[in-house]
Symmetry: C2
Subunit: 511 residues, 2 copies
């Protein structure tokens, strides 16, 4: 058996059944092996960022790693920014990165580079496999590492290791369960909660699942603690029937003001509330520096168990979620609030929301709270262009569920090739482009750092010369599209899109 076949068979045996691929020459045998080994679905992306971003969303939705297939160093490089996001999302991914043959690389052919150096910043596991007989074991180890550490494993695959005979399929390796936190971690948290000082439970990761939110609300109801999610999160269970949760505002002044009174900070599956950027004269933490900090559970711990045990320290019974007023379809001119409310009114149950629209996100966040139950995936790592790939991967991971991307125009343009994969695979993705024709966040940021925009700044932040024609752009990649110039039109387009299979793009024309 050639190496490539042992690799594919090992991945399948270890539970990896989806491969997001953008192959090149050095990956030919892997591609051929996909046809010889049953059980791996291959999904083509036209750009590596589509591949890695899709794998991120796939893992967020399924909890298990997809494989990616990318070409030699520069191919991996194109996927790195969205691997950064996946690293910050703490999701498992197994990268297969082709490379020059072991005996050819020393001659320094043109594509040769230091692939390990490129992979390491986002990977928990990096190996270049040099012998065909080691490939199966390495693949099993990669899957294990990705799952155990909820991180990115990068297997560098020289072409001769792939094409030579001698491959051995390896058995899956065990993945230990999440570690339970200590009793003292629970007791100390309970003590803080009983102190009557203002206490914030800051949550992310598994704590934002439906179950985690329910447990946290029991604790809050019993103790008077306040709950908050981080500013950006991997996945949040939201909508009617789920306990609501606010998040730390992105705007530093807002974040600091809201949390000025916090005396005790309990971290649940996350770290400190560090601001996205520093600004002259402003703090870098949303909570006061002198607040007492207690780690209830690290992101890799069994966060749900920790919350359940902490809830057990209090008497509060589980209470049903109070129903909230249903959002209503709005009419007239398109405003951010009106669009968000209209979307919330029409959102199908069990949808998946992809949110990448930094200056408009709060409108959607607020309105969708009262929509039908859904999951929300956010750009947690800050590398922009996450939206189209995340939407693509979420739809592959969760067939039958509608994916709705609330997408800023500037960021969509980094990875717009994701639309093509949505068309190719007929994915149920509705993309709503919030076309404000500028890097709106940068105008705000410029003001926040105290700089005054001059002509050059305006030139660099406006993207309306020329304006992107979103309808043509979408259609050019096979995704039907239409403009909404009123909320009535927007509602009609949403209804149409939700009523049928396949992708659709709506450009919102703000009043």
């Amino acid at each position: 058996m050639i190496g490539a076949e042992s690799l594919v068979r090992t991945l399948v045996a270890s539970g990896v059944d989806t491969c997001f691929a953008n192959p090149g020459t050095s990956e030919m045998h892997f591609v051929a092996a996909l046809d010889r080994a049953e059980g791996m679905r291959s999904v083509l992306g036209l750009f590596e960022g589509v591949v890695t971003g899709a794998a991120d969303a796939y893992a967020r939705m399924t909890g298990k790693p997809a494989a990616t297939l990318m070409h030699c160093g520069p191919g991996l490089a194109n996927g790195l920014s969205l691997l950064h996001n996946a690293m910050r999302a703490r999701v498992p991914i197994v990268n297969i990165v082709g490379d020059e043959a072991t005996y050819h690389a020393p001659l320094d052919p043109p594509l040769t580079t230091d692939t390990e150096s490129l992979a390491r910043p986002s990977s928990v596991w990096v190996r270049r496999v040099m012998r065909t007989e080691d490939l199966g074991e390495a693949a099993a180890s990669a899957v294990q590492a990705a799952r155990q550490h909820r991180g990115i494993a990068t297997l560098i695959l020289p072409s001769d290791v792939s094409w030579n005979d001698g491959g051995v399929v390896a058995a899956p390796l065990p993945v230990p369960p999440r570690a339970k936190v200590s009793d003292s971690a629970i007791r100390d948290a309970a003590g803080m909660l009983r102190s009557r000082d203002e206490t914030l439970l800051l949550m992310s990761g598994d704590a934002l699942s439906e179950q985690g939110l329910a447990l946290a609300h029991r604790i809050a109801a019993a103790s008077g603690a306040r709950l908050s999610a981080q500013t950006f999160n991997t996945r949040v269970a939201r909508g009617q029937g789920r306990y609501p949760i606010e998040r730390i505002p992105y705007i530093v002044d807002d974040a600091v003001r809201e949390n000025a009174g916090v005396k005790n900070l309990i971290l649940v599956g996350t770290g400190l509330p560090v601001t996205f950027f520093a600004y002259p004269g402003k703090p870098g933490l949303a909570t006061p520096k002198d607040a007492s900090v207690h780690v209830l559970a690290r992101p890799d711990d069994d966060v749900i168990d920790a919350l359940a045990r902490l809830a057990g320290e209090f008497d509060a019974p589980a209470r049903p979620v109070a129903p909230r007023p249903l959002p209503q379809i709005q009419r007239g001119k398109i405003t951010p609030a009106g669009a968000a409310e209209t979307l919330a009114a029409l959102l199908p149950a069990q949808s998946i929301i992809i949110e990448e629209a930094i200056t408009l996100r709060n409108f959607f966040f607020a309105a969708l709270m009262n929509a039908a139950p859904h999951d929300s995936l956010e750009n947690i790592g800050g590398a922009i262009g996450a939206g189209p790939p995340l939407a693509t991967g979420a739809a592959i991971a969760a067939p039958g569920r509608r994916v709705v991307a609330a997408q800023a125009d500037g960021s969509a343009l980094y990875t717009i090739q994701g639309l093509w994969t949505q068309a190719r695979e007929n994915l149920d993705v509705t993309t709503i482009v919030l076309a404000n024709k500028k890097y709106a966040v940068l105008f705000k940021e410029l003001a926040d750092v105290g700089a005054v925009p001059g002509k050059t700044a305006n030139d660099l932040f406006e993207i309306d010369r020329p304006a992107i024609d979103w309808i043509k752009l979408s259609e050019s990649m096979g995704v039907e599209a239409a403009r909404a110039e009123s909320l009535e039109q927007f509602a009609d387009l949403l209804r149409n899109s939700f009523a049928r299979r396949g992708p659709f793009l709506i450009e919102l024309m703000f009043a």
Copy 2:
């Protein structure tokens, strides 16, 4: 003076007058400083690959570095694959990569990553500047390093270093001239050339300038040596009035066959003719393993001086370039040869050809040999998606010259955002999309490694489900476009595009 201003002023003082930019929050003060300091032209790209690829072409055409402006680690990551190509092209670039404030980074905000690890594989110089007062000197040193080593200098700029007061503008640092090769290098080469054994002068870099080619042809005429360029090159002077030169074929079997008789290999501004990839059972060098190798000049040496001195060892006088038959406009169905010949017939003098079409490149190469004099820029590093950014940067670097991109469809889709910058800056770029609707090279490569394409392979190499609508895609980014379904139409569209300012895209519909 704040750091950012000292940085911009130092860059301008050191001769850097163009900045290809895709800024984020941490670069706000740099952007503001662009307005305060005269002399820097800023060009916006919608994606970092546009920025780095444009800087590559800019350096190829001007011989001097442009600056790039990119956002924190993941922003740089998006530009890395085309920085790889620029590294292989041996051109100078100065990257300014923003980063978190020095005091904020230790808190590990979401965008934090190991930026140095990402930058090093393609950079000759990487520095994170930690004090505002050091910024000017660091910038001058970056320009010096980029120019001296013809490589990429990456300056990592924490936001507080940028916004704090205390910046000092630094004077330009000297760049030593290219080193002259030793007398013995000349003598040994002359000895080889006199040996009567089959001798190949393999050339790249500066040797492929008009002057270098003329000198090499004098040497060849006097000695009977054969001349060849590498398979891919940074810049080649071509067309009528220039001495013609063949290049090592990309296809290994062809390359090996052509060079089977080579006994002596003289390297002129390049390394060995290493094949792009290894293939089972095939050699990794285009020339025989037992050929004697002599290095006349390394890429960083004064290659022109070495060729001139070597020519002086022989008596051959300079002879004028023989005129070659003029290409003729072809008619009828669109074939690769017909399209190439038609383009060659119409190409304006002093055009710049950007070539990224691996399976069709030989048609264009052959026909353009006899076109009006022009420069050709090739994808030397193998990272695909080079075309649209290179075309953009070449047009910025050489206003008044027509840029013509012979562009495969698969590769164009990696960095198609380059079209938008062409529209925004009204650049004289004519893009010819060679839309074969597949990764044609991969079918060939699959066969070459001895693998048989199955269903998955076909799925991963065909990009016609859905077909890209190139007209809509181009128009969506503000570039007018049209389809050519006959060579007559193609000729008309070329004439129209060449007769006016601004970008245009032609989709060639092959028969």
